[in-house]
Symmetry: C2
Subunit: 340 residues, 2 copies
């Protein structure tokens, strides 16, 4: 297993944010961004394929999630989602088959299009005896609850709430940095507990799974509300408080929804934030909190592994059943295949 | 071979026009329209599959072009195009594999994404001995020139000029009808030849291929100019004259660009206008003018056949070379596959 991460060039980041946030969008810009991202993904994939070849690893198939620009889940109703980064460009640049656009297959099957990662968590991490929760802390934090293999209870999953999204946005505004490396700033601040408490009163946290969320609920508007409660707080205290909101919403989810869980495996960007891990351990006293690295899977690439896994299911024409995760009504084959 | 056409419900037509025309679009509406069209296509495809089963025809694969919302060709530069009607819904509704989104593969291969139909014309209609031209008369008339199979000359394609666009607009203005059924009104009128001659002096007709055109050149402005030359003419004479301009520009194209052609095969809506066919025969004396029906292909479904053909190439992993038609830089496999 080999992985690599690449950062978006700043101009593309700006264009993505703009395309994601505006209600009314420049149609031509949406299309051009879709193509430009596809070309970038193609170029980076080609670079990665070459470097893998240097390690005698050969790549047969590429999976692309794409960049989410909109995600509008409507439980029970028609959901809509948009991931851009035209996969035809990846196929033509790498001359490899590409499977992409997984979430729309789920929506077409009657699901909410998210979360998809539980299917991989189930496959990799279900234990014969222990109850486990796998918590992926990306922009949003999502948890997969894995009863022991023999149990009659089915695995389930839900988006807990904000992941790094709030922390990263606040770091940008308050420190001009893109994230709080290792949680160092949060560790130096003081948590304003009234703000944490009032934030946790958001009705999303009380809703029962299955549920999924995104920037629409925990984006700029939610952050501004939090910040209004901390007008006199220092920037460090703000970051500490926002980190605590994130941690507490995750802990709360575990304790409310699946108190039987005794091992929590973290993955995603948040799994690098040791302050966050420490706080989560403290709030989940008596339970083991670690990262997926404990079981040999780099927490940075669990999500990338997911897309590869789904693409592999496509190629094998092997349907997945996401009913208990996304509400999809029957098994389906995820993604769309582009050939070079 | 079996075909069917279905009309959009009026509210969807309105939404499509709105989504196509505005510079700034409601992002959510774009996505919802994409899904709503996908669902409609799925429902209609399912209905068609059932009715085909009644005729003991079984459907193995569905091809979907989608509804064009944007098409921005940039010769030599990056083109962009958007066809909506999410194919995952078609796959899930019909439980059949679907190949869709053909134009983007062409763009990823460096082409303009259009015209794609010449590849089918070449495949179906190229003759071992005869030079043929396939003329598709839609809003615009476009021709594919097919040298004999053994010839060193390559097939080529271009937009000749206006197709039904001028006739239909004039019918709307003068008769309140959407088109001149079977050319009956044109057949009753008298052609004002000075107006035909002066219209044919438009520099577009003199330009050498490759060339493509649209409503920008032969839309309202062009029609108004023609109408000014016929202020005292009867409505019938106007339709006769406008039909003659259309016919003469096609004949002119054949005679100037490919005089070697001795058989013209018509398809598209204009192939139903027997007055137009008669006039074209008269202007192309010595050449055979007929519709693709002569070779067993319903002229109404040549375009639908094109998408089926491209989907079939995908399934066979059989690349197409569009270089001389769209400028695509190398062979590629068109479309994206969704599995149910």
């Amino acid at each position: 297993m080999k992985g690599a991460s690449y950062r978006y060039p700043p101009d593309l980041s700006q264009r993505i944010i703009k395309a994601s946030e505006a209600d009314f969008v420049d149609g031509v810009e949406w299309l051009e961004l879709d193509c430009d991202l596809g070309k970038l993904f193609g170029k980076l994939a080609r670079r990665f394929v070459s470097s893998a070849a240097g390690d005698s690893l050969s790549v047969d198939l590429i999976a692309s999630h794409g960049q989410t620009i909109r995600h509008l889940p409507h439980p029970g109703g028609p959901s809509a989602t948009l991931q851009i980064g035209e996969p035809s460009f990846i196929a033509s640049t790498t001359q490899l088959p590409v499977v992409a656009d997984f979430r729309r297959s789920d929506i077409a099957a009657g699901g909410e299009g998210a979360p998809l990662s539980p299917i991989l968590h189930e496959y990799l991490f279900r234990d014969p005896r222990r109850w486990r929760a796998v918590v992926n802390i990306g922009g949003i934090a999502n948890a997969t609850i894995l009863p022991p293999t023999g149990s009659k209870q089915l695995p389930s999953a839900a988006d807990c709430g904000p992941g790094n999204m709030l922390i990263d946005s606040a770091m940008q505004v308050l420190f001009g940095l893109s994230y709080d490396r290792n949680g160092r700033i949060a560790a130096q601040g003081r948590v304003i507990s009234e703000v944490v408490d009032s934030s946790l009163r958001n009705p999303y946290f009380g809703r029962k799974p299955p549920k999924s969320t995104g920037r629409e609920l925990f984006g700029r508007g939610f952050l501004e509300k939090i910040m209004q409660g901390m007008k006199r707080a220092s920037p460090r205290d703000c970051i500490a408080t926002i980190t605590e909101i994130t941690v507490a919403s995750i802990a709360d989810f575990i304790l409310r929804i699946c108190p039987a869980v005794d091992e929590i495996l973290l993955c995603g960007g948040g799994a690098k934030n040791s302050h966050l891990i420490g706080r989560l351990s403290a709030l989940l006293k008596g339970k083991t909190v670690s990262t997926t690295a404990r079981l040999g899977y780099d927490p940075d690439y669990i999500e990338a592994f997911l897309w590869a896994f789904l693409a592999f299911r496509f190629i094998g024409q092997n349907p997945i059943n996401m009913n208990s995760y996304t509400g999809a009504k029957g098994p389906y084959i995820p993604g769309k295949l582009c050939l070079p």
